[in-house]
């Protein structure tokens, strides 16, 4: 049987709120000085103006860090990650990826290898977004971290790339939820995922 433990359900939704706030306010901060040849549309941003966006960004940052920290600590200590997200083998990923393309998507007890890779990769992107964000916030106090990202200007691009990866994950994640809507009940109420 596969039920989402209550701590997973709570941290999942708090993380969703934090991430959406961080992404939308981050887009408005980006717009103040665009790195590339485009800006994000105002309707997709949060904060109203640069000062508001930064206030949102640095408030949501704490929610992400505290909530994400609890989730990562819990997942590592209880063996949840070891059981549910690992191992990830290249051969399995390739097999499950082909199955998914042929609509032979198995959604039973555990996560398939593609899902595991996807979730672990996204957690990694979250950690990268956090570390690069920290290096932009404190390029003097934490200048070793900023230097590790190749300096302030490169760290901006790393932070942007991590955000892009997370948004990409979100799009696929939401598309799959639309295909298998029972997952939305499972992550909210903890009911067993429907078997096929």
């Amino acid at each position: 049987m596969s039920r989402h433990p209550v701590i997973v359900r709570i941290t999942h939704w708090l993380n969703a709120v934090a991430m959406i706030c961080l992404i939308m306010s981050g887009w408005l901060i980006y717009d103040a000085s665009p790195l590339f040849g485009f800006s994000f549309p105002r309707w997709a941003t949060l904060g109203g103006w640069l000062g508001g966006a930064i206030a949102w960004h640095f408030a949501a940052m704490w929610l992400l860090v505290v909530n994400g920290g609890i989730y990562l600590l819990w997942g590592a200590v209880t063996g949840h990650f070891a059981r549910r997200l690992f191992p990830i083998r290249a051969g399995d990923v390739w097999r499950d990826f082909r199955d998914a393309l042929h609509l032979r998507l198995v959604h039973d007890d555990g996560y398939n290898s593609v899902q595991r890779l996807f979730y672990v990769g996204t957690i990694g992107l979250g950690v990268l977004a956090f570390a690069s964000g920290l290096s932009l916030w404190k390029p003097v106090q934490l200048h070793a971290l900023t230097a590790a990202f190749g300096g302030y200007e490169t760290a901006r691009r790393v932070h942007f790339a991590a955000m892009s990866g997370i948004v990409l994950f979100l799009l696929v994640h939401l598309a799959l939820v639309a295909i298998v809507p029972q997952t939305l009940l499972a992550i909210t109420y903890g009911r067993a995922a429907a078997k096929r």
Binding site: A16, V17, I20, C21, M24, L28, I29, Y30, A32, S33, L35, R42, W43, A44, T45, L46, G47, G48, W49, L50, G51, G52, I54, A55, W56, F58, A59, W62, K138, P139, V140, Q141, H143, A147, Y152, E153, R156
Partner: protein, 248 residues
């Protein structure tokens, strides 16, 4: 009612600025409400949370601040050319201060309050730095500033260096303030020169505070007066919602 949530010596300012941020952040509140499904119609409560978090971030940054940690320095070849102008008005509106009649006024918790002329400041020992200026907008640029180490200036005027804040008032109606720990940092200087010549009008003639451990907007230009105080003087941007400490 906001007064209850506001703490310390800034309650009056907070009262004013909470309303300002409310008006501005309210614009995209609808977007968040739709996405999260939360009913965040009470913009006042949201603003209070944002201000509380900003004050919390002030405290965390003051704690993170290492008074001996130096901002990275760069070779002259790394200097950004042309160095950008930035203010809350266009470059052609930058004030033109007359250096011959200008005097730096001092007030607050300072023993010697006689005003300083430009020549007197130039007669003091000078220090030069090539550091990265980071704007709250995200961009950065490397520049070279020279002038009087602010710590030695504060000691010379008999400032109470146990006080909490140093405030600045500028010729362009701009104002700002920094914490005493940052004011005493070895790289905080009263800059008189940019590269090898006196500050041009656009970069803050006659005096600009150069603080490489803070964001650009905490580096006031066209300084007319300096004061030492225990009540937070806020700032032009800070009172509208920019994080007050804004340390790098």
């Amino acid at each position: 009612m906001n007064r209850l949530q506001a703490s310390g010596d800034r309650s009056i300012e907070l009262l004013k600025v909470q309303r300002r941020l409310l008006l501005r952040s309210g614009l995209s509140l609808g977007a968040l409400t739709m996405l999260t499904g939360c009913d965040l119609t009470d913009g006042d409560a949201v603003d209070r949370v944002l201000w509380t978090m900003s004050r919390w971030n002030d405290r965390v940054q003051a704690w993170l601040f290492d008074p001996t940690r130096l901002a990275p320095t760069y070779p002259a070849s790394a200097i950004t050319d042309p160095f950008p102008f930035n203010a809350f008005y266009p470059e052609d509106s930058a004030p033109e201060v007359d250096g011959a009649t200008w005097k730096l006024e001092l007030s607050g918790l300072v023993d010697h309050k006689s005003p300083w002329t430009l020549a007197q400041l130039r007669a003091l020992p000078q220090q030069s730095q090539i550091t990265r200026h980071i704007c709250i907008e995200g961009w950065s640029a490397i520049g070279q500033w020279s002038g009087v180490p602010f710590r030695s200036f504060l000691e010379r005027i008999g400032a109470d260096t146990r006080a909490r804040y140093v405030g600045f008032k500028c010729a362009d109606r701009y104002y700002s303030s920094i914490d005493m720990a940052t004011a005493l940092h070895p790289q905080t200087i009263l800059a008189l020169d940019f590269r090898d010549s006196p500050l041009p009008d656009k970069f803050g003639f006659p005096v600009k505070l150069r603080v490489p451990t803070k964001l650009g907007f905490k580096n006031p230009k066209y300084i007319m007066s300096i004061f030492v105080t225990n009540s937070n003087p806020g700032g032009w941007w800070e009172d509208q919602g920019y994080n007050w400490f804004s340390g790098s």
